[in-house]
Each structure stands twice: as structure tokens, then as C-alpha cells.
């Protein structure tokens, strides 16, 4: 088997295991490339049957407009059961990444919102597209990551996972996060997208976009909510995104890679990691570890 075949079968195995053992699973669908691959694998796991669980998108209301268009088109094309959840309290309090900073915005509109949605629907297992190669604290995460009633992750008290014998036992109110792409790397994801011709949001491909440069990050002016600094003028720049999130927090990279093939070639030579463009990872040392302990995915 090639490495992609091995990864593919491993992910399918995880989907089937969780669907068989949990009462009410859900797939966290974040619209990005990892979610696209995850969805593709889930469809394979249960074909010719339908997905035995719904998709959940936690919408912070600050996603790129193209992401939302892609999400709705995908759900319609595949006939998916898609739940969109927004933290209404956060919206009423006017939480925004611009006035409140990435930290609070992520806490309220992402972590808090996710917990609300999981609680409201009573989901006991949530698939996420995180990979162990993304960040150092993720490298220690289990495939089935146990969360207590408050959705907290305890890195010092994780269940061992010998072989692929996943422990699916939880008490009422507890849940697991499931990471079917644990062993995939960014390059694997793109090679697989290439091999399987999986549709992804066009923002991953190079195009001329209105960009302002702030603290070394290339921020795209996606709508009128991004206040421009005095004298700041968006400049048309040939860029693409390596990861997608809230647009004011997601840096683009200068790139001419306009197809999946060109992205794979570019990545084979890349010198910086993909999460570098993520403002929320850089708050301070070990910040992802801290967020995960609080219930972030």
C-alpha cells in the first residue's frame, strides 16, 4: 500500500469505529482543506450508505465570504445534514477580533460556541480535522481525545491507545474529540486532494486579492468591517492562503500557486509551517496547549 492508501484506510477505520460505538456523533466542519478531506473520507467509510451523523459548523461570523459560499454549495451538492451554530450571546455583546483581540474572540465565538452547540444537541463524539504535525502539543494528542463534562483536555491524564483499539467508554455528559487525520501531514492532505480531485475553497489558490500588511501578516480586506489605519490602502497582491479561519486573523502568503499541483510543488520547497499564519497560536509559548485544555478543538 502507498502511504496515502494506508492513511486513507486508517481514517475510514476510525470513522466506522466511532459511528458504531457512540450514541450521537457529529463532524466539526470548518470548511478548510482538512475538513474537505475529512468529509471525503467519511463519505467513503459509509458508502453506499449515507453519513450516519450530521455536520456542525461553528460560525464566528468573521469567516471569509468565499468560505460560507463554499460551505453552502457543498452541503447542497452532497445533500448533507449541516448544522450552523453562532454564539448569539457573543454577537449581542458585539465580540469581534478587531475590538477584542484574537484571544477573547476565539474564546467566545469558537471555544464557547462549540461547547454550546455540543451541549445543546447532546453530541457525545465530535470529529475534528486536526493533525498531529500541525503544532507541538497536538503531536501528543490521542486519536480519541477524552473530554470531561466541562470539555477540558488533560494532557497528563490521557488514555493510552495501544494498537488501534480505541476506548470508546464515557460516562453521561462526557465526550470525545476524534481526529481521523491524526497521522496526516499537510503535504499528505494536498497530495490526497490531488489524487482524489476533492473540491476546496478557492482561497487556497493564488489570485489577486485586496491586501493590507500588518505586523508582517498579509490580511485580506474581505468586507467593510475591517477598519483601515490612517493612510492604509489595500493593495492588489497575488496571494493564497495555507489555512483558513477568521479573515482578520488569517495571514495570506505571497504565492503564484494556482492549482493543486502547484501547491504540492510549492509545499515540497516551503520553509515555513502552515500555522505561522495563525494569529491565535502566537499569543504566548504553549498557547495551543492552554486553549486545548480549555476545550478548544
Amino acid at each position: 500500500m502507498t502511504h496515502l492508501d494506508r492513511l486513507e484506510s486508517e481514517s475510514i477505520h476510525i470513522f466506522r469505529e466511532v459511528a458504531a460505538e457512540f450514541r450521537k456523533p457529529v463532524m466539526l466542519y470548518s470548511i478548510g482543506k482538512d475538513s474537505s478531506v475529512m468529509l471525503h473520507l467519511a463519505l467513503k467509510a459509509f458508502a453506499p450508505g449515507r453519513l450516519p451523523f450530521p455536520l456542525l459548523h461553528v460560525d464566528t461570523t468573521w469567516k471569509f465570504r468565499e468560505m460560507i459560499r463554499f460551505r453552502d454549495a457543498t452541503a447542497a451538492r452532497l445533500g448533507l445534514d449541516l448544522i450552523v451554530h453562532v454564539n448569539r450571546e457573543g454577537v449581542e455583546r458585539g465580540i469581534s477580533p478587531i475590538t477584542h483581540g484574537p484571544g477573547l474572540h476565539t474564546d467566545v465565538m469558537k471555544t464557547e460556541a462549540l461547547k454550546q452547540a455540543l451541549g445543546r444537541h447532546g453530541f457525545d463524539a465530535a470529529f475534528g480535522g486536526a493533525r498531529r504535525d500541525e503544532e507541538k502539543s497536538r503531536a501528543k494528542e490521542r486519536v480519541l481525545s477524552f473530554r470531561d463534562r466541562a470539555h477540558r483536555w488533560d494532557p497528563r491524564n490521557q488514555r493510552p491507545e495501544p494498537w488501534s483499539l480505541y476506548n470508546t467508554r464515557i460516562s453521561p455528559g462526557e465526550s470525545v474529540r476524534v481526529f481521523p487525520l491524526s497521522n496526516w501531514t499537510e503535504l499528505d492532505v494536498w497530495q490526497y486532494i490531488h489524487r482524489e480531485a476533492i473540491p476546496v475553497v478557492p482561497l487556497y489558490f493564488a489570485a489577486r486579492r485586496p491586501i493590507v500588511e500588518r505586523d508582517g501578516q498579509l490580511i485580506m480586506v474581505d468586507d467593510e468591517r475591517l477598519p483601515l489605519h490612517p493612510g492604509e490602502e489595500p493593495e492588489d497582491r497575488l496571494v493564497r492562503f495555507r489555512t483558513l479561519g477568521c479573515y482578520p486573523l488569517t495571514g495570506a502568503v505571497d504565492s503564484g500557486a494556482a492549482s493543486v499541483r502547484e501547491i504540492v510543488l510549492e509545499l515540497s520547497r516551503s520553509a515555513v509551517s502552515e500555522r505561522q499564519g495563525r494569529a491565535i497560536d502566537h499569543d504566548r509559548l504553549g498557547s495551543m496547549e492552554k486553549k486545548k485544555m480549555e476545550g478548544y478543538f
Binding site: 500500500m1 502507498t2 502511504h3 496515502l4 492508501d5 494506508r6 486513507e8 484506510s9 477505520h13 466506522r16 469505529e17 459511528a19 458504531a20 467513503k44 459509509f46 458508502a47 453506499p48 450508505g49 449515507r50 498531529r132 504535525d133 507541538k136 502539543s137 503531536a139 501528543k140 494532557p155 497528563r156 490521557q158 488514555r159 493510552p160 491507545e161 495501544p162 494498537w163 488501534s164 483499539l165 476506548n167 467508554r169 464515557i170 460516562s171 497521522n183 501531514t185 503535504l187 499528505d188 497530495q191 489524487r195 503564484g256 500557486a257 499541483r261 502547484e262 504540492v264 510543488l265 510549492e266 516551503s270 520553509a271 515555513v272 509551517s273 505561522q276 509559548l285 504553549g286 496547549e289
Partner: protein, 637 residues
């Protein structure tokens, strides 16, 4: 000539590049060693030299090197891999971590497992998920106790191919004699453990010698570099050669016309039309269709996640195994196995645990802990329990027959985990040795006089009233009154009392946790026999652990077990102290006394809770008897 944007390469070259990329296979290997051996440095070196580390990660490590590093102003490569804040602070690896890198020929997943004894369970986890192992040795120190431990665990978990990486050669002046003496010593160990494929490489992770490039420091070494070994070891050949096994994960039934059985092929292969047997049912049929991840297949091989449809409509469900009819799996409820314990609470023989094989689950008890194996000396010792990180050889008894194979024949279907039924923690990892008896050989004596017949003859509905509570809570007093009242109603009863049973049946047992578990197990079995005989059995035992009370409950039918919690506060029991035991326990004359220095786990949902400080003995006894009356079938049945 057409060319892709930005690259300037001719597109044929790019096609070749994609083809080569997609042809790569994947090797998963566990790295055993400790930070002192330079393990994190070696991993950091592999990542750094294979260009898997990005500039921003290096600059983050550079910043951290000033805070935590050990290499002065140079980048401490180890900091590229130590993931958790606590690990960086303490300079140790606590948990298993997964690292990804590649070469021109292969993708690699390095499973970084901590080497110290207190993390043996993590090393075992790493080994269980690996194709081969890389055992790291410090050239200055040679084969240490921990090397023996690593080699043993690796072998126990079914890995035959080992790379012996002799690191820090720079610190012994690249001395050939040092290297060869280590290789000789390891060879003796490998021989004893039956590790067949050992390749030794002399290297320096710090300097980079013999890792990706040969370097000029070891002209006497003609063998492959570490990377060359990693690139050429065969992957997955063992699984492909085995007998066909497919543990069924999921029954796929989207419409009445399609009924598929999904799972990952654990070993061997199967072709369309070939006959298969279903375990445990033993039914035979043949494979009609094979749906692979990308459509219909002629053949499914080990490692593939597939969905099979069968020629005949036979009953197959999750937990069953599809197998080649010529070589079916073992099917048994009794097996011998090695178990590595992974929990801070020790394994207690007799306590029921959940056991999970590839996808079948059951309740298991360790009936016999044959011996404990000292992983450092490989010596065998008698043991009454297994503690965290200890390995033992034991016999397990399951509540139903489960299909499996010996681990030596199949790493996927011969493995299991043990799960605590109350904490839900994964407490043990098991390696099946062999079936102790075949389930097909067990035929229950078909007795014409059964429990219902006996109960009818006596004219009552047999059951167990299980009274639990602290010493001095009033269990025996209430139990005695209950029995008197039932007797007056013409019921056939028997009172099993803790003290009395300990004078006879259980006089060989003490008060350690293990003995308490065995004490209750025997009493529960006796109570079950008496229920079978048609009696109303009143059990009056402290029975401090939830697990054992649940075990007793599981032995009986749902409506045959009534748990009564005699809930008297410790202070009151201690004040009553009818036998003077609390006073002796407080004086240190009695050890492991429940409530003083041994725990009592109160029932979570007892059928009845009696507060002896708020009611008389008569009232309490009446409440207990009402439990039986409340039963719709009635005491007088």
C-alpha cells in the same frame, strides 16, 4: 515545452515527481531511549536534516533554547520535539509523540516514546503501533538495564526488526572496538529474545554522522546509514502473509437490497468468490462483492478498509470476524495472555474488567496471575497483583466466547485492552498467547430440574439481598431480623455472614485488596448456587468495592439482586464498635481496616438505603422485606 508556473520544470518531470510521491509507502517506527541517550536530539536531527522542520519552528526552538536549552547559544534540536510545556520545563519526554518526515523513497512516522521505567506503558503503546523499532544506546554506557527493558517490550509487542543506533560515537573518539563490543552484547540479548533482524549503526546525532550522510569519522564502518536502513526495511509483509481476517466494525445497510460488512482487513487477503467463515457462528458463505475505498475490488488485502457483501443471507454483526474457512480463528472464553498494566490502581485477579479485542467486547476476569515478569532482568516472580508498568502472564476468563488469534500469529487479532468498568480508563494492554479451551468443547449439562422448577417446588421467588456497609453499621443485626421475619412467613432462607464465612470457606484469605476481591467473588458464587437451589439469600458483608458488588449483580438475573446500603456514618460505627475493632485499628493493631486505612466505596444507586440512626431494627427489616414485596411477582410467587 510546456511548464508549470513558478517552477520552470518541464511538466514531464513534474508528472514523474507526482508519480514518485504517490508511490511512496510509509514506515512507522518507535524510538526507544531516553533523553540522556540523545533521543530527542536524534529525532530533531532526522527532522532537521530531512528538511521537515520549518524556519519558524527553528526560530521558536532558538528562542526556547535560551530558556530551556542545554546547548548554549546553538539551537537545541531536542526542543523541536518536546511538545508539552511540562516536558520542556523538565527536559524530559512524558508522553508518546508522533513525528513526520520523509525521504525520496518513503514517508516516516517516528513514534517517540519515553524511556524511563515509569513510562513503560507509553513505550508499549508506541511499540504496538510500529512496524519496526529503533533502540538507542549511548556509546559511552553500552547496553544498560533500560536497553534490556526496551528490547523485551519491543519483542513482546511483536516487533522482530530492530535498528540498534549506537549514538554519541563522537564522545568515544569513533572507536570501532567500542561499537563492536556493544553490537556483540546486544546480539546476545537479541538471541535470548528471538529478535531476528538487528541492524546496528554507529552514529552521532549531535554531529550528524551516519544519519543521512556517512561522514568521514567512521571509515571502518561499511554498512548503511540510519536513513538507508529506514528506507529499505520491508513494511507490512508479515500481515499480508497471514490468514485472512476481517473483524466486522459496522453493518452497512442503506436499503433492503444492500447488506455489507465493513472493517479493515487485519491480515491476509480475500478475493471475490472465495469462501469465508463467520466466527463465532461458524456459518460459511462466500464473498460476493468487495467495495474498497475507491470502488469495487477483485481482492482485499491486509490494511485495507473495505465493505464485503456475502453470497448468503446469514447473520453477521459488529464484533464477529470473517475469516478464511481453512484456518479459522480461535474461539474461546478462556485464554492465556501477557498483560502490561497501565493504570495507577493495580490489577486485581477476580475483579471484572471490560475486554476489547479488534471489535469484540466482553467482561473478563483474571482467574490466575501465573507470574510477573521483571522487565529489567526478565526474571519471573510470583505476584498477587500487577502495578502500573508491570508485565504479567495470566489466565483470563470471559463471559462469552470471543474470536481471536495468538498474538505471535497476528498482531491485530491477538491484541486486546482492558478497561475499568467504573473509571472507564484503559488499564491494561494484553497479548493473547493461546486459548485455554475451545468454546466449541463446552457443552452445558442439560439438566431437567432447573432453577424455576426448584423455586416452584418451594413456592418462592429466589433472590439475593446484598447488605453492604461499614463494620459496625448494623448489617448483621438487620440481616438476622430479616431472616427471622421471612422464616415466620414460611420462606426458605440462608444468611451468609462475613465473619462466619471467613472462619470456613474463606479462612485462607486476609484483608489485602486482592484478598477482599477474592472473598467477595467466592461469596457471590456461593450466593448464586443458593439462588439456583431456590433460596432467598441474605448476604451481610462489608463488601467495600463497587466492582465486586457489580460482579455479584452480574452473576444473577436483573430482578434477583437487591443491593441494600446500611448507611451508618463512620463516627457512629466507631462509637458503637461492638467488637472493639475500631479501637484496635486506631491503635495500629489492625491494618487495612475499612473506613480507617482501607477505602469504602458507597453504592451509587442502591435498591434501598437504611439509616440505622433514624430507624429501629424492626423498621429496617420491614423496609428490606418490602423490597421483595415490591417485586411484581411477589415473594410468595
Amino acid at each position: 515545452m510546456p511548464s508549470d508556473a513558478d517552477t520552470g520544470c518541464p511538466s514531464e518531470d513534474i508528472d514523474a515527481f507526482f508519480a514518485a510521491q504517490e508511490r511512496k509507502d510509509q514506515l512507522r517506527f518507535v524510538i526507544c531511549g531516553s533523553v540522556d541517550d540523545g533521543k530527542s536530539t536524534l529525532l530533531g536531527r532526522l527532522l532537521y536534516d530531512s528538511n521537515t522542520v520549518f524556519e519558524d519552528q527553528v526560530s521558536a526552538a532558538r528562542a526556547e533554547s535560551r530558556t530551556y536549552g542545554t546547548q548554549g547559544d546553538a539551537v537545541d534540536l531536542a526542543l523541536l520535539v518536546d511538545g508539552l510545556q511540562a516536558e520542556r520545563e523538565q527536559g524530559i519526554t512524558i508522553d508518546v509523540a508522533y513525528r513526520y518526515f520523509e525521504s525520496d523513497r518513503r514517508r516516516f512516522i517516528a513514534i517517540d516514546a519515553p524511556g524511563h521505567e515509569q513510562y513503560t506503558r507509553n513505550m508499549a503503546t508506541g511499540a504496538s503501533n510500529s512496524d519496526i523499532a529503533l533502540i538507542l544506546v549511548d556509546a559511552r554506557k553500552g547496553i544498560l538495564t533500560q536497553t534490556r527493558r526496551h528490547a523485551y517490550i519491543v519483542r513482546l509487542f511483536g516487533i522482530h526488526r530492530v535498528i540498534l543506533a549506537v549514538n554519541k560515537m563522537d564522545l568515544v573518539g569513533y572507536d570501532q572496538d567500542v561499537f563492536q563490543s556493544i553490537v556483540r552484547n546486544f546480539g546476545a540479548l537479541a538471541g535470548a529474545l528471538d529478535l531476528t533482524g538487528v541492524t546496528a549503526v554507529p552514529l552521532s546525532a549531535l554531529k550528524g554522522d551516519n544519519i543521512l550522510v556517512r561522514g568521514g569519522s567512521t571509515p571502518w564502518y561499511q554498512g548503511p546509514t540510519l536513513m538507508e536502513v529506514l528506507e529499505t526495511v520491508p513494511v507490512g509483509d508479515g500481515e499480508r502473509a497471514g490468514a485472512f481476517r476481517l473483524p466486522v466494525q459496522w453493518v452497512n445497510r442503506p436499503n433492503p437490497d444492500f447488506r455489507g460488512f465493513s472493517g479493515t482487513v487485519a491480515s491476509g487477503s480475500v478475493r471475490r468468490g472465495e469462501s469465508v467463515v463467520v466466527s463465532p457462528s461458524g456459518r460459511q458463505t462466500s464473498v460476493e462483492r468487495i467495495l474498497g475505498p475507491s470502488g469495487d475490488l477483485e481482492e482485499a488485502v491486509a490494511g485495507q478498509a473495505v465493505t464485503l457483501t456475502l453470497a448468503d443471507e446469514i447473520d453477521v454483526s459488529r464484533g464477529d470476524m470473517l475469516a478464511t474457512a481453512e484456518r479459522p480463528p480461535e474461539l474461546s472464553d478462556q485464554l492465556a495472555a501477557h498483560v502490561i498494566w497501565m493504570d495507577t490502581h493495580p490489577m486485581l485477579p477476580g475483579r471484572p474488567y471490560l475486554v476489547r479485542f479488534a471489535c469484540a467486547s466482553a467482561v473478563a476476569q483474571v482467574t490466575d496471575l501465573t507470574h510477573r515478569i521483571d522487565v529489567d532482568t526478565l526474571g519471573r516472580f510470583a505476584a498477587k497483583s500487577l502495578h502500573l508498568n508491570e508485565v504479567g502472564y495470566c489466565k483470563l476468563s470471559l463471559d462469552r466466547p470471543v474470536p481471536f488469534d495468538a498474538y505471535s500469529a497476528n498482531r491485530k487479532t491477538g491484541a486486546f485492552v482492558l478497561i475499568d468498568r467504573f473509571t472507564n480508563a484503559t488499564v491494561g494492554a494484553g497479548i493473547a498467547a493461546f486459548a485455554l479451551r475451545r468454546a466449541s468443547n463446552i457443552v452445558w449439562q442439560d439438566m431437567k430440574i432447573d432453577k424455576a422448577t426448584r423455586a416452584r417446588a418451594i413456592g418462592q421467588r429466589p433472590c439475593v439481598i446484598w447488605m453492604t456497609g461499614l463494620s459496625g453499621a448494623g448489617k448483621s443485626t438487620v440481616a438476622d431480623r430479616v431472616e427471622q421475619k421471612l422464616h415466620r412467613q414460611g420462606m426458605h432462607t440462608y444468611l451468609l455472614d462475613g465473619d462466619n464465612v471467613r472462619h470456613g470457606l474463606n479462612r485462607d484469605l486476609g484483608f489485602t485488596d486482592q484478598d477482599r476481591v477474592e472473598n467477595i467473588r467466592r461469596v457471590a458464587e456461593v450466593a448464586k448456587l443458593m439462588v439456583d437451589a431456590g433460596l432467598i439469600v441474605i448476604v451481610s458483608f462489608i463488601s467495600p468495592f463497587r466492582s465486586e458488588r457489580e460482579m455479584a449483580r452480574d452473576l444473577l438475573e436483573a430482578d434477583e439482586f437487591h443491593e441494600v446500603f446500611v448507611d451508618t456514618p463512620l463516627e457512629v460505627c466507631e462509637e458503637r464498635d461492638p467488637k472493639g475493632l475500631y479501637a484496635r485499628a486506631r491503635n495500629g493493631e489492625l491494618v487495612r481496616f475499612t473506613g480507617i486505612d482501607s477505602p469504602y466505596e458507597p453504592p451509587l444507586a442502591p435498591a434501598l438505603r437504611i439509616d440505622t440512626t433514624a430507624m429501629t431494627v424492626d423498621q429496617a427489616a420491614d423496609e428490606v422485606i418490602r423490597l421483595l414485596d415490591a417485586d411484581p411477582s411477589g415473594v410468595a410467587g
